[in-house]
């Protein structure tokens, strides 16, 4: 059996204030997959993400990345192989220039300045931001900052790229540009989103989470067309959107 890129088994977690967010999550993602993680607010999506690179430690169950269990002694390797793009690019971009920010990850991995330079240029090129390298992040537009945030993670060449609400606050053109960039990457991807058309456009597979457990896992068009399942989990498609009709036109 091939080792999955990401596997969580029976993952449970309660916050220090006693609020339990995860009640046994099982998720398995194979190499090269693009998976959408759907679910209403408060379903535990963000909590799950924070487990994937060991920011949070499971109360019970386990997480492993590329067969390596997420544990304190493995953290350095895990963080190099799981790239998380957070919701607010202002949280992610903290260095004085775009270049320095993208270089932050590779330098932490102990790479030499020369190797870092190669990685930074490749990552900025992948998101079409190479001419902004010397600019300070706060002088960029929101969409550009989101793209730089993706580059900061790409520069670490992660095994799996995790995006938390990649389309939030983006204008339609910025949203489409980001989709084009993501589609070009051959990295395994987990996209957490409320933007269901986006999930359908980018991810052949979707998992649906609610109340701290996985409630569905299957091809995205099927999940989005299951009216009962959708209604039971507070998911709604935009007005006039028919996933079956769109699904026929999708190139996987």
């Amino acid at each position: 059996m091939i080792t999955p890129v990401l596997e969580t088994t029976g993952l449970c977690f309660a916050y220090p204030d006693g609020h339990q967010a995860l009640f046994g999550c099982d998720l398995r993602i194979e190499r090269g997959e693009r998976v959408a993680l759907l679910g209403p607010n408060g379903a535990g999506k963000t909590t799950l993400i924070l487990h994937l690179n060991g920011v949070l430690t499971p109360g019970a169950g386990s997480v492993s990345v590329d067969g390596l269990e997420v544990r304190k002694e493995n953290l350095k390797r895990i963080r190099a192989s799981v790239g998380i793009v957070f919701q607010d690019p202002d949280d992610q971009l903290f260095m004085p220039t775009v270049y320095a920010d993208v270089a932050f990850g590779p330098r932490n991995l102990g790479m030499t300045p020369a190797d870092t330079d190669v990685r930074v240029n490749a990552a900025l090129d992948a998101v079409g931001m190479e001419e902004y390298a010397e600019r300070p992040p706060h002088h960029l537009s929101f969409g550009q900052r989101r793209r730089v945030a993706v580059a900061t993670v790409l520069a670490m060449e992660p095994r799996i790229l995790v995006l938390d609400e990649p389309t939030s606050n983006l204008d339609p053109a910025g949203r489409r540009e980001l989709a084009e960039i993501l589609r070009e990457l051959d990295t395994t991807m987990l996209i957490v989103t409320h933007d269901l058309p986006y999930a359908l456009e980018l991810c052949p597979r979707a998992v649906l989470m609610n109340g701290g457990v996985m409630v569905a896992d299957g091809p995205t068009p099927e999940i989005l067309s299951d009216r009962e399942l959708m209604a039971a989990n507070r998911l709604e498609l935009p007005y006039g959107f028919d996933p079956v009709l769109v699904g026929r036109r999708i190139i996987p």
Binding site: G83, I84, D88, P96, A100, F104, G105, N108, H138
Partner: protein, 222 residues
């Protein structure tokens, strides 16, 4: 700047020479003189203090327009005004011609502790974010008819300040999480080095060297 501070206050011509040097530097760096003059407002508190000196100073006095002014105080005031203005000008020219990232980078090369440059970097990076947040909160307050006229209405302002503090604190936590996620282990990596070549050193030392010459000749002339 040290050269300016160490110049005897009686050497008026030396101050004129310093001012000329700075104007030259500003010209070279294409910094508009108007920009520099407006920024001099920063100096206002020191000027106020300088204004008081002739009034309260002891010793010999002269009458100017019926007000007895202490000569010692006048000298001190002139000293403060001239040196503060020149110092501020020099700082402003550096700030206006050098991107912040490069100033921080330069300080690192000059062996400034990493912790300090890192804090300064974060401060500059997030000032915009936090003032933006403050601005939005102000608009939101006003949009709901907030128009404080009496002291007890200041409650909303203190609440805003408190909320802003907590939000910034939480943002700090999120930033830290994002740093951890990219393998942060407690020290910021130095970014790519471009060590200054001798020519750049020579260019950089030109202005201080000229100032030093002025300084030495002002002492010699005493």
């Amino acid at each position: 700047m040290l050269a300016v501070v160490a110049t005897p206050r009686e050497a008026f011509w030396a101050y004129a020479a310093y001012a000329a040097l700075l104007v030259g530097a500003a010209r070279l760096g294409r910094v508009p003189i108007g920009f520099l003059s407006r920024r001099l407002v920063l100096e206002a508190p020191f000027l106020l203090f300088a204004l008081f000196l002739p009034l309260v100073g002891g010793g010999e006095r002269i009458e100017v327009g019926g007000i007895p002014l202490a000569i010692e105080g006048l000298w001190a005031a002139w000293n403060i005004v001239a040196k503060a203005t020149l110092g501020l000008w020099a700082t402003l020219i550096v700030a206006a011609t050098t991107p912040i990232a490069e100033i921080l980078h330069g300080l690192e090369h000059l062996r400034m502790p990493r912790v300090i440059t890192a804090i300064a970097g974060f401060m500059i990076r997030y000032t915009d974010v936090i003032t933006g947040e403050m601005q939005r909160m102000k608009i939101a307050r006003e949009a709901r008819g907030y128009d404080p006229r009496f002291l007890w209405q200041a409650r909303a302002l203190t609440a805003t300040a408190g909320t802003l503090f907590i939000r910034s604190y939480e943002r700090g936590e999120r930033v830290y999480l994002a740093m951890l996620s990219r393998g942060f282990t407690g020290s910021l990596p130095l970014t790519a080095h471009n060590a200054a070549v001798p020519r750049q050193w020579a260019m950089a030392l030109l202005l201080p060297a000229a100032a030093l010459v002025v300084n030495l000749s002002s002492w010699a002339a005493l």
